[in-house]
Symmetry: C2
Subunit: 521 residues, 2 copies
Amino acid sequence: MTELLPNYFNGTWQTGTGAGTVLTDPVLGTELVRVDATGLDLAAGFGFARAQGGQALRALTYRQRAAMLAAAQKVLQANRDAYYDIATANSGTVKNDTDVDVDGGIFTLGTYAKMGESLGDTHFIMDGDAARLGKDPLFQSQHILSPTRGVALFINAFNFPSWGLWEKAAPALLSGVPVIVKPATATAWLTQRMVKDVVDAGIFPVGALSIVCGSSAGLMDQLQPFDVVSFTGSADTAAVIRSHPVVTQRSVRVNIEADSVNSAVLLPGEAAGTEAFDLFVKEVAREMTVKSGQKCTAIRRILVPEALYHAAAQAISARLAKTTVGNPRNEAVRMGALVSRAQLVAVREGLDYLKGQATVLHDGSTAALVDADPAVACCVGPTLLGVGNADGSDTSDRVHDTEVFGPVATLVPYRTTDNSIAHAVALVRRGQGSLVTSLYGSDPQALAWAARELADSHGRVHIISPDVAALHTGHGNVMPQSLHGGPGRAGGGEELGGLRALNFYHRRTAIQASTAVLGQL
Amino acid sequence: MTELLPNYFNGTWQTGTGAGTVLTDPVLGTELVRVDATGLDLAAGFGFARAQGGQALRALTYRQRAAMLAAAQKVLQANRDAYYDIATANSGTVKNDTDVDVDGGIFTLGTYAKMGESLGDTHFIMDGDAARLGKDPLFQSQHILSPTRGVALFINAFNFPSWGLWEKAAPALLSGVPVIVKPATATAWLTQRMVKDVVDAGIFPVGALSIVCGSSAGLMDQLQPFDVVSFTGSADTAAVIRSHPVVTQRSVRVNIEADSVNSAVLLPGEAAGTEAFDLFVKEVAREMTVKSGQKCTAIRRILVPEALYHAAAQAISARLAKTTVGNPRNEAVRMGALVSRAQLVAVREGLDYLKGQATVLHDGSTAALVDADPAVACCVGPTLLGVGNADGSDTSDRVHDTEVFGPVATLVPYRTTDNSIAHAVALVRRGQGSLVTSLYGSDPQALAWAARELADSHGRVHIISPDVAALHTGHGNVMPQSLHGGPGRAGGGEELGGLRALNFYHRRTAIQASTAVLGQL
């Protein structure tokens, strides 16, 4: 039997009392470790985090907690090789893709350590200036942000066991709010190891950071009015979380990041072979294949002027054809596996569904795998679909509604009457709210105008123009400085965005008082 | 038959096709008007507001929309007398109480007109400064706030037919988001008249402001991902709204303001007869009786040092005894009616429930009504309850959990070992999140410390010290400059707070681009 990973909960390492769920290598099919949460005293563990962890964290200042984030970052950096090994085995990712998760998480943690320092040795945050409540300035209103007196429960997704933990935990811990993380079972190992390393280093107060691996059953029931829950995953599970009585009846604050049918838009006036066109092709092919397309921010819809449909199809396909797929341990391999057989099935089903309204422009399903057994490995080559012409873009509703969580995207041509992007904008909006759209062009004014038109339906607009060809941070990479989240289908959440991330973990209060009292705050 | 009030919906005035619901005078019992929403084409009306109203509003700048708010304010001011007559008849409120609703609403509208001007002739709001995304400053992230491309549905409470409309509509319209208001049926008349006056004046674009009176059936079903809904009312209805599929599945943004068991705390060290003690007694008695206690911000729990229990009971009771109750048309009357027989029954039931764990210190139920028939009028005198001693404060859970929406409050004594307010703070927190708490004392440091302790469980902390005796704005009055809302039981919402109110109607987006593109925004 494989090792049963212990949970860190209620201030102690404890294994579940059940047989556990096996985590497997998605390339080799071998069994790795087991996780289990059976028999945990959930009420005690949540109570412990709230009372011990919360109180100890709140007794520290922002600067002190920021220093702890920095110390945690150092611990993680020191153990980086072990994380890469776990990711290779459990996520089936090539080194570059592991980097996005592991180093992305460590970088985000470090960024919050630095930003947190700027908040100084205080216990709450001033929110704006005092405002007079009448002609006499003696009585004023000063808003402040106080850490919420509860726990932060994270129910995380399988695709980012490292980054998904730290992009949420860094702002929470900096805010003084204890964290209980429930990683997705399929890839829980890396999250568990990172938490273990940080806990063993004794950096944070006991109860500040807990982990429960295995089933999420009963976790939501433990939440109380001052707790918060942050979920990343499917829209279906998101709806279940939002319908839970602790949310509907006790106002537990929820952040959701769910399905997102992201887009990339090549603006009119950029002929095939121009720099903007080439940057567009390169970014689309890259985004389709990074982490085998298992990124909530990956490009799913590729919008091009109708006249460039064939040129774009050809150029993107040519790049995709070079993507070798297979065992990430083989240095010739560019793209590893999907996370599980279940995901492989889901991606194939999703592809079939999309094909009902689109044709295949590049077929990755037939490519030979490198160093991997197709009967075992959860590998699939990148596939480019297309809807043919601008009328097809209007009538193919599936492409606008369906997130296939693999290396799959669809070319969506738009009409460019009078060089307008109105049709492109209308098509992008049919995604009903997305995490990110990227725009490609060389005219700053046209790019800025398109960004403003698309802003309200996106959490982020990433603009690639030739002047930032070597500098831009990538359509799909989530930078801690920028908001991560999106309205509507994308869940309506807000994460990161620099210190904005702290809002979720704080309560805003207007203090109305005499200037003498406000001066004592 | 009384007049059937028309709805303004889908760009036209139209009456419902049903018999309608009768609105009555809660003092005289007479029938006033009828409202009905039967037969309205909801899909068409919501679509019209979204397309016509939204587009027209967004084409204007903040400054232009602010000017419209100012124009609307003038119209309302010109028709003020009519609103007072409607309020007297339909809400049964005395002039001072009508003032809180009618003039409070007009004042809030005017405040947003002024604040909006400062946003200038722009179409979106810059959110913070641009942040570098690497060492090279050429590629940066700039956050912006864009008006959401949907409608704002308001499902409002019966106690503030004027203020409840304008405190929500002013930030929404200023943001460029069209409003559809569904006032509570019992007092819908005043809301309908105000909307009618503003619509007839032709100030806002057609579709910017709509009203549906009567049943709310089907309204939520119309919402789409970019719409928002703001609800004020009971926790039960709030849970229904939050469980609706448009919220759980389509991420429709929700703001809830529900039950709140607000408190007032006299700090230790303020003997009976001191200025702070007297200010405390005066404010508590005032808050209990304003609008017959039908204010979501009204004081429900009165915390005093245990040693002052009897002195406080006596002093507050003495003030309450002077409160004449009855027909608001009689100038001798200080407190009018509850809004309906249903509310009268609910308040009596709530009182009985509280009495199961408290004793009556001042009984208002037996006072003779002035100019009103007790068999008809929905009048009830103010009642002060008490839990006897500090142990009673701990064991009487009902007082911490129950909002009786009438002139009812309970005296809750706390232990003051070592002059500490720890026990008071713990008792206040048992409210599980409230809109407001008020603190009374003369030591700025002690007041500031208590404010910080209680901030995280309140949307507002109102501090009354002798130096602001004549200046403070009142425990229960909601100032547009300050946040209105509270965590947990209070619903977790945020309204007002100056320009912070606009956040709910905007979407935040990180624009990542070269400085050349950002310069064109």
